[in-house]
């Protein structure tokens, strides 16, 4: 029997007040595989991640993570959110935040020594051991982002979801982060939202998922400048979809016969 896929979407639709954000989305990510989500802003990438986390439910269709409902397997999944949507003046230090990754092991009072060690290891993994006691407010944007990644690593996840982790950090930090992610790729599945082709090649050499109301697979090798432009330009989105369907053998939308 084949291994249970990490993620399986079947005919999933989700709309918010204004209209559908995702429509009839079906895809599967096999066990142990990592990939990237690309697509224009407002295309539904973050919604897709939130569906995977079970933070929102689909209007139609089914979602399985490790073969179960997303809300049932949350402890095996970790999430690094996109924005720096945190109050920078909140009184916590870096280690306090990373320890939150061990919340599911906490009953009352203090974190156990094991949890503290795990948190320290996670901080070391992102190269921030020396600022463990530093306040969140005193860290740079890149350091804050890495603290959030360390917090996700402290969860010891089997599936790591990252929403544009490099959006707010400089190049030298990015290089280091990529090194970290590449190392982690062997241990867990990584799904990363990114616009950066360079980055994508560090996560997957196989295919990416293009998210823009619908979800299509693209081989990384096919991601030429033209394809990228098509994906990101909304006027040409329809055309792009037709072509993709054409490639997949569905000619119902094609102009030629």
């Amino acid at each position: 029997m084949a291994e249970t896929p990490v993620i399986k979407f079947e005919n999933v639709s989700r709309s918010f007040g204004i209209g559908p954000v995702l429509e009839d989305v079906s895809f599967e990510i096999a066990a142990g595989q990592s990939t990237c989500l690309i697509g224009p802003n407002g295309g539904g990438k973050t919604t897709l991640l939130r569906l995977m986390l079970g933070l929102i439910r689909p209007n139609k269709g089914t979602i399985q993570i490790f073969g179960s409902r997303p809300s049932r397997v949350r402890k095996r999944v970790a999430y690094v959110p996109q924005h720096i949507r945190f109050d920078p003046l909140f009184p916590v230090n870096a280690l306090d935040i990373v320890l939150m990754g061990r919340l599911d092991h906490l009953k009352f009072g203090r974190y156990c020594d094991d949890c503290k060690n795990t948190a320290q290891e996670a901080l070391a993994e992102v190269g921030l051991s020396d600022v463990a006691q530093r306040s969140f407010a005193d860290l740079s944007g890149g350091q804050r982002q890495r603290v959030l990644i360390a917090r996700a690593l402290a969860c010891k996840p089997e599936l790591l979801l990252l929403d544009e982790p490099t959006a707010n950090i400089d190049l030298s930090v990015e290089a280091r982060l990529l090194e970290t992610l590449e190392k982690l790729r062997g241990k867990m599945s990584i799904i990363m939202v990114s616009h950066d082709l360079d980055l994508i090649s560090h996560i997957t050499s196989d295919y990416v998922l293009c998210v823009n109301q619908h979800v299509h697979r693209h081989a990384v090798a096919d991601l030429t400048g033209d394809v990228i432009r098509e994906i990101y330009s909304s006027e040409r989105r329809v055309e792009h979809e037709k072509k993709t369907l054409h490639k997949q053998g569905d000619h119902s939308h094609c102009d030629h016969s």
């Binding site: 109050d87 306090d96 320890l99």
Partner: protein, 288 residues
């Protein structure tokens, strides 16, 4: 000021000792709960709960006198109103986030309106509203002291037991939820702690000034340190300083206690402002 300390030893001035102890015990709750309130930026919720307490006080006095229920004291009414308001605001803000400010305003005004109506219809001698609105710690009785101690201890115990979970929920509710923490429960728990804290404050500073003692010591402490547990310790110490100092000054100068306590807290906060500026400069220097 020395006459205050002499009076503390006077066997006939039990009221002053009661007031001092009540202030010191309650300081633990202001310091601890206030730190959460400042960190999570919910001081407006605390203010709304404080004002709505008048509804509970008015209702308690009305039913106590109309139906001869001596056990139904204003403190019990205040506690019930504070917890009810905390739960209503919490549940509405959890289920319909965009309406949070509306419900805060509604609870704030409706609570006071209910209180004023009940007091209007209360039979018997006129109710002294002023002591609830502006507080009077010098009227603290032994029974009040026991209630203060019980409520204060429960707040301290809950805050210590659930410190890390409350911290996580305040910092990032969504993440806490993803890690299997019942974030809604802990948010409501926090608002209930705020409610209890407010009830203790009503006696000390009254409804209107209550918010000052929840927010100011914790805000001052936040200027001096950047870790919630340390903020709490400093805020408790500052609250003790404010309540004791306020009591001493007001006793010596024959002025109302509540406003003096609040002004000391406000003064300390203003004095702390240069510290943040100092830290910000330091940060600029150290970062490349």
């Amino acid at each position: 000021m020395t006459d205050f300390f002499q009076a503390l030893l006077d066997p006939d001035a039990a009221f002053l000792r009661h007031a001092l102890f009540a202030g010191l015990i309650a300081s633990f709750t202001f310091g601890i709960v206030g730190s959460y309130v400042v960190a999570r930026r919910i001081s407006y919720i605390a203010a709304a709960i404080a004002h709505s307490v008048l509804g509970g006080i008015g209702a308690a006095i009305y039913f106590q006198r109309s139906y001869d229920l001596p056990w139904l004291t204003p403190t019990i009414g205040a506690l019930a109103a504070a917890l009810l308001s905390a739960l209503i605001i919490g549940i509405v803000s959890l289920t319909a986030k965009e309406r949070e400010d509306t419900i805060i305003g509604t609870i704030w005004a409706a609570g006071m309106a209910i209180g004023l109506l009940f007091i209007h219809y209360t039979p018997g001698p006129a109710v002294n509203l002023e002591s609830y609105i502006f507080g009077n710690i010098l009227f603290t009785t032994r029974a009040d002291l026991i209630i203060t101690a019980v409520l204060g201890l429960s707040v301290i115990l809950i805050s210590l037991l659930f410190y890390n979970k409350l911290l996580a929920v305040c910092f990032d509710e969504e993440f806490a939820r993803l890690r299997g923490v019942n974030a809604s429960f802990y948010y409501l728990l926090l608002l209930c702690l705020v409610g209890i804290c407010v009830v203790l404050l009503v006696q000390l500073t009254g409804i209107i000034l209550a918010i000052a003692l929840i927010v100011l010591p914790a805000a001052t402490a936040s200027r001096l340190t950047s870790r919630l547990s340390k903020v709490m310790v400093i805020a408790v110490a500052l609250s003790m300083l404010c309540t004791t100092g306020g009591l001493a000054i007001s006793y010596s100068s024959q002025t109302p206690t509540g406003p003096v306590v609040v002004l000391i807290a406000a003064g300390l906060y203003i004095l702390s402002l240069p510290f943040t500026i100092g830290r910000a400069r330091l940060r600029k220097k150290s970062s490349p």
